[in-house]
């Protein structure tokens, strides 16, 4: 095993982590401000990917598609918030789980109705199709590097938004005392719609960027959603910082686990056996880590406002 391979795998883990952060940030923001658990967050990720693939195919430009994915996911988020989610804030978590579970069914079948069952085609933009040479002579894909960069930029942007702007002030106020900001004359309904649309846009953005790497198909959001849950549970629900740390932790553990566990197993059993058993253990690794973290800190690493 060369050091170049190790560096490449670390970058891969970081890239997965950054992508999970985009998903987890929206989830945790929505929970922090509105106290809502949104299972349909993965559907918004799918909406972003489909919007990007479809618009890119129509216009021939990935960048227009990417913009469209942001717009489509944000618009869909706002629409869903106004029609459905708004009625759920005062309900218990059980109703929220069920209603958003129903939304998943509606989104999945609706998308299938519009676009069919065959996966859509979406490729990385030609501007980012190249490679970067790593130390040790290995090459790393520019597009994945760009995802890492975008993710870090989004993290900084979110931090600035929340700590430096008026909207951010209101979001923080909403997190600490929901009744209070209503009394201060802030239009709380609009604020909630904006926060939900912002979370949706982040998810849609992640879906579009990842769609260029993977296949754009119905159901693509569900595995990511569950990983994002693990991330925010580890990080502490409601905490953006926790989401960032949790996402990078999960990204690194998952990638390195898939890469290293079979090799470790191969030290004391046959290759084929180690490959299957190692892959089985690697697939459970992040859940085991989650269990250990929760056994020590039940509220996650960075317990949020609540």
């Amino acid at each position: 095993m060369s050091s170049a391979l190790l560096i490449e795998q670390l970058l891969n883990g970081l890239q997965l982590g950054v992508m999970l952060f985009l998903m987890a940030a929206g989830l945790t923001l929505i929970f922090g401000v509105m106290g809502l658990i949104n299972l349909a967050h993965g559907s918004l990720y799918m909406v972003g990917a489909f919007a990007c693939a479809w618009v890119s195919a129509q216009t021939g430009s990935f960048w227009i598609g990417l913009a469209a994915s942001l717009a489509a996911a944000a618009a869909m988020g706002a629409l869903v918030e106004i029609l459905v989610i708004r009625r759920l804030y005062k309900r218990d978590h059980l109703d929220q789980v069920l209603a958003t579970f129903a939304l998943i069914l509606i989104f999945s079948e609706g998308t299938r109705y519009l676009f069919g069952s065959v996966p859509l085609y979406l490729n990385v933009p030609p501007e980012l199709a190249g490679f970067v040479v790593l130390s040790g002579g290995s090459r790393y894909q520019l597009y994945r590097l760009a995802i890492i960069g975008v993710g870090i930029a989004v993290a900084i942007g979110l931090w600035l938004l929340i700590s430096k702007t008026r909207l951010g002030m209101r979001i923080r106020a909403g997190e600490s005392d929901r009744e209070m900001i209503g009394a201060l004359g802030v239009d709380i309904r609009t604020l909630y719609t904006i926060v939900f649309a912002l979370g949706a846009a982040l998810a849609g953005f992640a879906g579009a960027m990842v769609g260029a790497l993977q296949s754009v198909q119905v159901g693509m959001g569900e595995p990511v959603l569950i990983l994002a849950f693990v991330v925010i549970v580890i990080g502490g629900i409601g905490s953006i910082k926790g989401a960032l740390v949790g996402a990078i932790l999960v990204g690194l553990i998952d990638t390195m686990g898939r890469f290293l566990v079979p090799q470790i197993f191969a030290l004391f059993m046959g290759t084929s056996q180690a490959a299957t058993a190692g892959a089985a253990v690697a697939s459970m690794l992040i859940y085991i880590v989650m269990a250990i973290i929760l056994a020590v800190r039940p509220q996650g690493l960075f317990a949020g406002a609540r």
């Binding site: 060369s2 890239q15 790497l213 290759t271």
Partner: protein, 378 residues
Amino acid sequence: MKSIVKMGVIGLALSVSDLAMAEPIKIGMITTLSGGGAGLGIDTRDGFMLAIKQAGNDEIEVVTEDDGQRPELAVQIADKMIQSDQVDILTGIVWSNLAMAVVPSATAQGKFYVSTNAAPAALAGANCHPLYFNAAYQNDNLHEAAGEYANGTYEKMFIMAPNYPAGQDSLTGFKRYFEGEVTNEVYTQVGQTDYAAEIAQIRDSGADAVFMFLPGGMGIAFMKQYAQSGVDIPVTGPGFSFSQDVLPAIGEAALGVKNSGQWAPDFDNEASKAFTAAFEEEYGRLPSIYAVQAYDAAQLILSAAAKADVKDQEAFAAALMEADIESPRGDFSFNTNRHPIQDIYMMEVVDKDGVLTNATLEKVFDDHGDAYAEQCTQ
């Protein structure tokens, strides 16, 4: 005996013989018409119905239901078809895990099952059944062909499949014939969508080529990421990942990939040309291998129906066994375990007038059976 054979011949000649066809046949088709794998099920249904329609035989009734690629739903539909609809023959399941849920209990309840695709090893060997016929292949066949083809071409191979029984069978099948060195044997997660970690290992492995079995969305994701990664080690695989239904989603990244299969649209025999033309006219698209297999399954049932009464299961099974059909695949007969003996080829993905499709490269196996037939004693 002679008179029976004669009657069969007459029945065949008349296509609909009122002697042999005293009893109408009811066929239950369970296949995937919704969800991510619907493309395969739709081709299965369309290929099957094309043969039924061409036969113009109104003594045959086909009821079709969607299993949504969910095993428990497939079982429920099978129970309904057996108990309420009282079908004689079940068919149509695409996926091995659904077949494992349905086939053993259907045959145990005394129904024929003619498989249009799924062919798990568990049903080909010691647990084979006199009422279970497979018109497609045995799951290992295409992997074996890829292994045999690699012998003459590559010395060191990187092999990879998802960590589930079909994936393990795949790599076992490949290694059964490949004589060179396997540098890495990697199992990925089922449903995995990001292959960056595996691609990094491929780059590092020093292998001459990659053999990968990643069906459906997994293969699409892998091929795209592989092309983007700039690793120039050639990829080979079984035809599942490069059939007509997934090629558009992979795009140019699939060009030049060599894959094993038992049929491609460019096959130069009369049955294949006629089938491809009829399918394109009926449905307005190129048929995939799944359509061919389903077409042959229907042809097999029709050929047996012309010779025997489906209620006389022993005679009907014997008639099916004769495999008296003109398959678009060319030579086709049944092995002792009621799985096909057929030729297996290497194909190459080419761009034909702007449409990605497979072109035949060379024949790898002539009259190839499978490794499990010996264990089948019933």
